[in-house]
Symmetry: C2
Subunit: 326 residues, 2 copies
């Protein structure tokens, strides 16, 4: 899951000098930020510092980052003409900055897996049509219920872009790809099956054909867990609303699980809820295919010392628990 960020003093130092766009669009800065949590915590993998909205940029819809609001598109996608105008993406041209950052970071981390990432097609479409993280989903839902065929064309174009971009990340040095489907949970079940799942499935299939391992992050998809194995991901990352036992009962053993501590638990000292952490490791790790993680990114106001304590605890406990399970 996201590791770097506002909660780290070393990140704040860079942020004080640069805006967010400059940070992820300057390969040297993005590489440096990628390495920050690696140096502080010594995790088992690194994740590149970038943003899912690079695809919107590449498709001709520039994104600005507004403090307190997040990504904002000056030219949100609302018409057939705008969608028709989108040209196929060439990631080496259009998203060169993140690809270069990946090559730099991979060079600095020869022994650590480096995770590249992309937004899943529906999640990207929602941002591009709504124009920002709009809770009501006014514009994407209008398109979905009013002009579903138009939404399908948009989703096809985005899917192609995501596939090309993810392959380019792999070619540039990413060892695996995490696909974030952060907005699919806003849909009705039938709309999820029509406008989110098949497009995520297509992206993952294409990446698997190219030999690229994939983590699918199913944020808020708890009501629909039984559909998730249709997506041929190697790892399913779960949020904290799914109990570890339910996760392992719903997802077949051959698929690894990642997750799923409540990110807000880190407001408190992990020693206060260590039994809860033990349960998580024992249940999720039952069949050994398990990556300890949070259920979502680290919240911006989390005390950094609680993250350190959590990582230390996991390192000690997981090895001890696995010894017991042998």
């Amino acid at each position: 899951m996201r590791q770097a960020g506002r909660y780290m003093p070393e990140y704040q130092k860079i942020r004080a000098k640069h805006d967010f766009e400059t940070m992820y669009k300057t390969p040297e800065l993005a590489c440096e930020i990628t390495l920050q949590p690696v140096k502080r915590y010594g995790p088992d993998a690194a994740i590149i510092f970038s943003d899912i909205m690079v695809i919107a940029d590449a498709l001709g819809h520039n994104t600005r980052f507004v403090d307190g609001t997040g990504p904002v598109l000056d030219d949100p996608v609302r018409s057939a003409a705008q969608i028709e105008k989108m040209r196929p993406v060439d990631p080496y041209e259009d998203i060169a900055h993140t690809l270069k950052a990946i090559t730099l970071a991979a060079g600095e981390l020869p022994d650590l897996p480096l995770i590249g990432f992309a937004g899943a097609p529906f999640t990207l479409a929602k941002y591009m049509v709504d124009g920002k993280n709009l809770k009501t989903g006014r514009y994407i839902k209008s398109m979905l219920y009013d002009s579903p065929d138009l939404l399908r064309i948009l989703l096809d174009k985005i899917s192609d872009a995501v596939i090309k971009y993810a392959k380019a990340q792999s070619e540039s040095g990413a060892d695996l790809i995490q696909l974030f489907d952060s907005s699919a949970a806003a849909l009705s079940e039938s709309a999820f099956l029509e406008y989110a799942l098949p497009y995520a499935e297509k992206v993952v299939n294409e990446l698997k054909k190219a030999g690229i391992p994939v983590i699918y992050f199913a944020l808020g998809l708890g009501p629909w867990l039984e559909y998730i194995p249709r997506i041929d991901a190697d790892v399913v990352s779960l949020d904290w609303t799914i109990s570890p036992a339910r996760a392992r009962n719903s997802i077949p053993r051959n698929i690894a699980l990642q997750g799923n501590l409540d990110p807000a638990a880190l407001y408190a000292d992990p020693q206060r809820y260590e039994e809860h952490i033990d349960d998580m490791i024992m249940e999720m790790g039952k069949y050994k295919n398990y990556i300890v993680n949070l259920g979502h990114g680290i919240l911006p106001d989390i005390p950094v010392e609680n993250v350190e304590k959590f990582v230390d605890m996991i390192k000690q406990r997981s090895s001890r628990i696995y010894d017991r399970m042998k």
Copy 2:
């Protein structure tokens, strides 16, 4: 579900003259607003215009309503001393305004069921501790993971207040009570089972013992549907992420269902997705225990003519479909 609101011109007229607090704290205004959707749509029930935060007020933590933010507590609950100081609620003294509004509205609507409502204990605790609708849940989660015993004491005090208040609503003329558990979905599964479900269960049990029918609104509780029947509600109201077929498979036939059109569907003309509406009525209404509704309150920028079309369509279709099913 919530019927009155910003999307109605007649509501905006009153809102232009009064702030939100004055609107729900003045019985005559609250009654008038309650009647507005009844006059416009001719629904099968009315719901009193009020706010779940009346309980926080009654417990000594005054709530202000800030445009764009919602309810804000100047004195959020963060310490044992604050919780100790809370005196038992006397709804006839502390929440007299809404009780009077209920009596007025019930007098105006002799032939229509009038729904009273309350927040479920965890949802109220989250607002009272966080101090506003805080997405990260920083303060409630700190309390939950750091001082769970303190949270339990608070939940007990809130539960007592909710039970007394709901009974007083019934005595004042409400025909049934809807319990809103709008924030329980922010919890991990184990925390839901410890801090939300048992308190909702207790409230509903006490109301049922007093002969009061209850609707439980399970917003975002899709991953945990199998636990919901533990709450002895007469009606379970579901959000739009649950397909009608899944809803009917998960909730026993003796419990009525309410819901669950995506409120954002009303951005579009209902004729564009009438098949979807038919499916909803056929599946959810299979065993006849069904109340057609949205999956959440009406969004503030919904075109009022789409709501009118939806209500007209439901009236026509549901009677036609039931004729066919006979």
